[in-house]
Symmetry: C2
């Protein structure tokens, strides 16, 4: 099981912080009747402050067993999030059926480096533990690891999956059709939650989806897509509906990825802005319309290979600054 | 000589852009009566648009010779800068005297990767060319390369130094006392101009100066200082006078530099916030007072070695977003 608090990250709190986390696990274990070794602890919030242990104790005492508490968890761990992020997916493959569900929270200091932010996933399928680890890593790499809200990596990223095996199936193992179905469902779920986090970034008014195609390798496609979605200037331009597409090619250019100018193509929505390295005349109104939508798709074609990656982020608004200039005051 | 325009970067403009730059050099050369090979071209502004050649032609035709045009240059090349950046320094060493002067412009897309933004320096000393190259590189590394305004590296960074030898001195060469004096003066001038650029960052209301001491190597000190000064969350907190110091240690922690928590010290102004890894109780009013100043000094002590580095940046304000959400509209 997992016990989660938000508002205080319990990061940079040294030995005392470790002791507080252990106590938090013990309190949760005692309340539910499991061993403290079976309790995982997750914290998010202000860095460098001790956990308010009295408050946490009071909170843990109020925990009651529930089969449908996912929605409450998604809501309880929100900080600057404006909407809870939760989703579930049902899978039927061969003779087994199972479900995967998950919750996630944002919404600042989001620039994943390992897993990301907080995301808790569960499934009632029995799953081989090595396969489960691998499939979570794969799903993280194409979902939460492709999200950037502000370029600040948090010390408290955490992504967990727990499989309780309640379905009683033979554990899903690599190479089976069940494994493929499991991975597909997990990928889809994680991308859905990750997009939810991006869309609800601090101060965000829209989701930005950047796809880089034709890269020499997946690593380069990922790097380029993340550079564009993480550029404050690209994000600010999109916020204002300013068709300043030069910032997009500048971000790719500085990303460290190989770019051949004469091969580069750029689409904003369905509008081709750059073809074979040449800026095309475009109807400004059409671009402004795309930029005014709640989802802004940007498509870059490097035309140097076959690898593709997609990254998600959000626009940069005055509201982001306002939120983060008074976070602890 | 150098011919400079601002407002249009002439970047991502392909063969046509190259031809336009050559024409710009030719026009300037014809006007002044030098060879086009002796003309350097610098452009800054919107990416992906052609230079307005008619306007540039008209402008170049109006250039007249002047011995005190530095101030006009500093002013003419401003875009979102609110104040011109210019400075000069007079040096007397042994039996020679010389001066170094310079102008620089910001003020967005500032996150140097090679030299930076636009900075033009001149000296009337005769200087050995290899030494001049090396001394410029050294000065750039501790000045403009330690400035970050928004994490977006520009495609149009340029830093130049020109020595005309009018003083008639024996060229300054490495290992001499003149060389030391020249380097010191150049360092000081570049740091002055770089701080001016940071202070006048888009939407900035204050200068942030981050010093990292006790690092195992200069490279690590630089990396850590730049990570802190570049963190949007640190910048936003300082903008709002929010003593959210956990973001500072979080930025160092993710910078890739070795950090031993139990050795870390952190000062905001003169106030010690963290000592030997332990958060200290502090008078919130005192910190708020420091954060409210026009210069905010942050001092991190890694206590792992002897290397030190300083980086400069500015706070992140709502105004930065406003400026950059309507840059081309």
């Amino acid at each position: 099981m997992v016990v989660v608090n938000s508002g205080c990250a319990n990061a940079f709190t040294g030995e005392q912080g470790l002791a507080d986390a252990a106590e938090m696990a013990q309190l949760a274990a005692d309340n539910v009747g499991v061993s403290p070794e079976d309790v995982l602890v997750a914290s998010t919030g202000v860095i460098g402050q001790r956990l308010p242990m009295e408050l946490i104790k009071t909170g843990i005492e109020q925990i009651t067993a529930s089969r449908d508490g996912g929605g409450k968890l998604a809501r309880a761990m929100m900080t600057t999030d404006t909407v809870p992020k939760e989703a579930a997916i049902a899978v039927s493959v061969g003779d087994i059926e199972f479900a995967i569900g998950g919750v996630a929270k944002g919404s600042g200091m989001i620039h994943p480096d390992l897993a990301t932010l907080l995301c808790f996933l569960t499934t009632d399928a029995a799953v081989d533990i090595d396969f489960l680890r691998l499939s979570l890593r794969k799903a993280a790499d194409i979902s939460f690891n492709m999200v950037s809200i502000d370029g600040d990596t948090s010390p408290n990223d955490m992504m967990l999956i727990m499989a309780n095996g309640l379905r009683g199936n033979k554990p899903i193992s690599p190479g089976s059709s069940q494994a493929d179905a499991f991975q597909q469902a997990l990928d889809r779920l994680c991308i859905y939650l990750a997009k939810g986090v991006a869309r609800d970034g601090e101060g965000a008014t829209k989701l930005i989806e950047v796809t880089v195609a034709g890269a020499p390798s997946a690593a380069e496609a990922r790097l380029a897509a993340r550079a564009v979605v993480g550029s404050p200037l690209v994000k600010a331009a999109i916020h204002g509906g300013d068709p300043n597409w030069g910032r997009i090619v500048a971000a790719v250019g500085r990303s460290g990825v190989e770019v051949v100018e004469s091969k580069l193509g750029l689409y904003i929505g369905d509008v081709c802005v750059v073809k074979a390295g040449c800026p095309l005349p475009f109807d400004k109104k059409e671009i402004v319309k795309v930029l005014g939508g709640s989802e802004v798709p940007i498509n870059l074609q490097l035309n140097l290979g076959t690898a593709t990656a997609t990254a998600w982020g959000c626009d940069l608004s005055e509201e982001y600054v306002t939120i983060n200039s008074q976070y602890t005051t």
